[in-house]
């Protein structure tokens, strides 16, 4: 099982962001900083996955260091935990989603769970999950190796999000796929 596709990304709508500030201060964001990603998914019969994301990134932001105003490149793969969990809001109450999140300044990915915007809880990923990123010639390639991801094995749909630190992207300031992507 596997596929390799280029996925168009859109800017996550600022109007949906919780609180009154982000939706107004960033209302002019209409262009995705990351217009497209290459997504390669290879699945094993035992429920494990190797997933690779690649995207253009002219100026890599690999670590924030002792700085206040630097943001770090990151990406995430989201999967619904229920058949009706909405994508663009990262789930909803009673309709959770689960994610694996890679950030350029971390050795290990985070495993995350959310039931709507602003509810994301993050924790260490299981021992069998890893993520490695490499930046070369203006392009990130991040490879997730997940020895088992039950949610994806069952639901067989993915969402993709990318944050470019050079553009101050974090939280809801991100580029995302416009819907759940069926694994085929």
């Amino acid at each position: 099982m596997g596929f390799h596709r280029q996925i168009r990304l859109m800017v996550a709508p600022p109007a949906m962001q919780p609180g009154g500030y982000v939706m107004k201060a960033y209302a002019d964001r209409s262009e995705a900083a990351t217009p497209a990603v290459d997504l390669r998914v290879d699945g094993s019969e035992r429920g494990g996955f190797a997933i690779e994301l690649g995207w253009d990134c002219a100026r890599m932001q690999g670590a924030a260091g002792a700085q206040t105003d630097r943001f770090v490149d990151a990406c995430a793969l989201l999967c619904p935990l229920t058949p009706d969990a909405p994508w663009i809001t990262m789930g909803a109450p009673g309709q959770p989603v689960e994610a694996v999140y890679w950030r350029a300044d971390r050795e290990r990915p985070w495993r995350m769970r959310a039931e709507g915007l602003g509810t994301m809880q993050r924790g260490e990923a299981p021992p069998g999950w890893s993520a490695q990123g490499a930046w070369d010639a203006g392009r990130w390639r991040v490879r997730f190796v997940l020895d088992a991801w039950e949610a994806l094995a069952v639901q067989r749909r993915l969402g993709v999000a990318v944050w470019q630190g050079q553009h101050g992207e974090r939280a809801g300031l991100k580029s995302v796929s416009d819907t759940w992507l069926p694994l085929g």
Binding site: Q17, G19, G20, Y21, G172
Partner: protein, 343 residues
């Protein structure tokens, strides 16, 4: 999705009389030593004292805040460590100690890198020309624990809340993911980013002290006795008297519309001099400048202060002047019946 903010049942507040601030930074040191010694906030001062007119801290902070002059949300900016906050300096202690006795040469203590900016970089500079109209004053700043906090409104994770029992604004660092929209949005730039723990950090109005009826460290340690602490609605307390009754204590940048709960008694200043050195009727600190900080009501406040000060000079009674002189320091702090202040 806007947050619904329940009004606080009570609101702690502080008044600072700028006529009495001597710029000693004891407030800053008291706060920093008590709460804020983590490496990731080594550059950060929950309380700081600025020389005004001046760039402030972080430099030109009003340019990077998340509010327009009419109180509308605008995109703010997270200040830069080197250019705006000023990185905490490191010194050549080791080489100074190592070289002196053994070689007979002296290496003087100095920063390891040439400093270019810091929190008190323009201290005592001010404006004007000596001796005719040179002027400056000190402006101590801390979180305003706003009635409508921009930081709370900015956090997409709902990690900032305003306590119903006393209106103190707090960051839940377990919930915070270090996105820094709060830093960006606060027009006073009083939320900081702990770059090591990657969470936001800010003044907590010394809440464990306040819960015991003890005023915050910045107020208690002030040698000038210029700070008053109490609840906003306590009609017997100094806050009500100075803010609502006498109307001589004003918020900083009220135009942002956030309802700051820290108030300032504006500074009076000596008269300007003419070419012959004779005093002119105009004060050295331009009223328009003070208006740009404290709003249009500053003129009325200064008129009241001048009037009451003259009364006192004539030997007449002035409750306002007695309050501001702080003959009885205990009266500066009034945090309720359970107060256990030991002065």
């Amino acid at each position: 999705m806007q947050y619904e903010l329940k009004p606080s049942r009570k609101q702690v507040a502080m008044v600072l009389d700028l006529n009495k601030c001597l710029g000693c930074h004891t407030c800053t040191v008291a706060c920093k030593k008590l709460w804020n010694t983590d490496q990731g906030t080594d550059y950060a001062y929950w309380n700081n004292v600025e020389t005004m007119p001046g760039k402030g801290y972080p430099a030109q902070y009003t340019d990077s805040g998340g509010r327009t002059a009419s109180g509308e949300v605008k995109r703010g900016r997270v200040p830069n460590m080197d250019a705006e906050y000023g990185r905490a300096w490191t010194f050549n202690h080791a080489s100074v100690i190592a070289t002196d006795a053994a070689s007979g040469t002296k290496e003087w203590l100095r920063p390891n890198e040439k400093p270019k900016w810091g929190p008190n970089w323009d201290e005592d500079h001010g404006e004007g020309s000596y001796p005719r109209d040179n002027h400056y004053f000190y402006l101590p700043r801390l979180c305003n624990h706003c009635t409508h906090p921009a930081c709370l409104d900015a956090c997409p994770r709902g990690a900032i809340h305003k306590r119903e029992e006393d209106g103190i604004v707090l960051v839940d660092q377990d919930r915070c993911h270090g996105y820094r929209f709060c830093v960006e949005a606060c027009p006073y730039k009083k939320v900081y980013f702990d770059y090591q723990r990657q969470v936001a950090a800010k003044c907590i109005f010394c809440l464990p002290r306040v819960e015991e009826g003890v005023a915050p460290a910045c107020a208690r340690q002030c040698p000038g006795r210029l700070r008053y602490v109490g609840f906003r609605d306590d009609r017997e307390g100094p806050i009500w008297k100075l803010v609502d009754e006498w109307k001589v204590a004003l918020p900083l940048h009220p135009e942002y519309g956030l309802g700051p709960n820290v108030f300032y008694v504006p500074p009076l200043s000596p008269p300007k001099l003419d070419a012959a050195g004779r005093p002119l009727p105009e004060m050295r600190i331009p009223v328009d400048y003070l208006k740009s900080l404290f709003g249009p009501e500053v003129e009325q406040a200064m008129a009241t202060l001048t009037r009451e000060r003259e009364k006192r000079r004539r030997g007449e009674a002035s409750e306002l002047m007695d309050t501001l002189i702080a003959y009885v320091w205990e009266d500066n702090f009034r945090l309720g019946a359970n107060t256990r202040e030991v002065l």
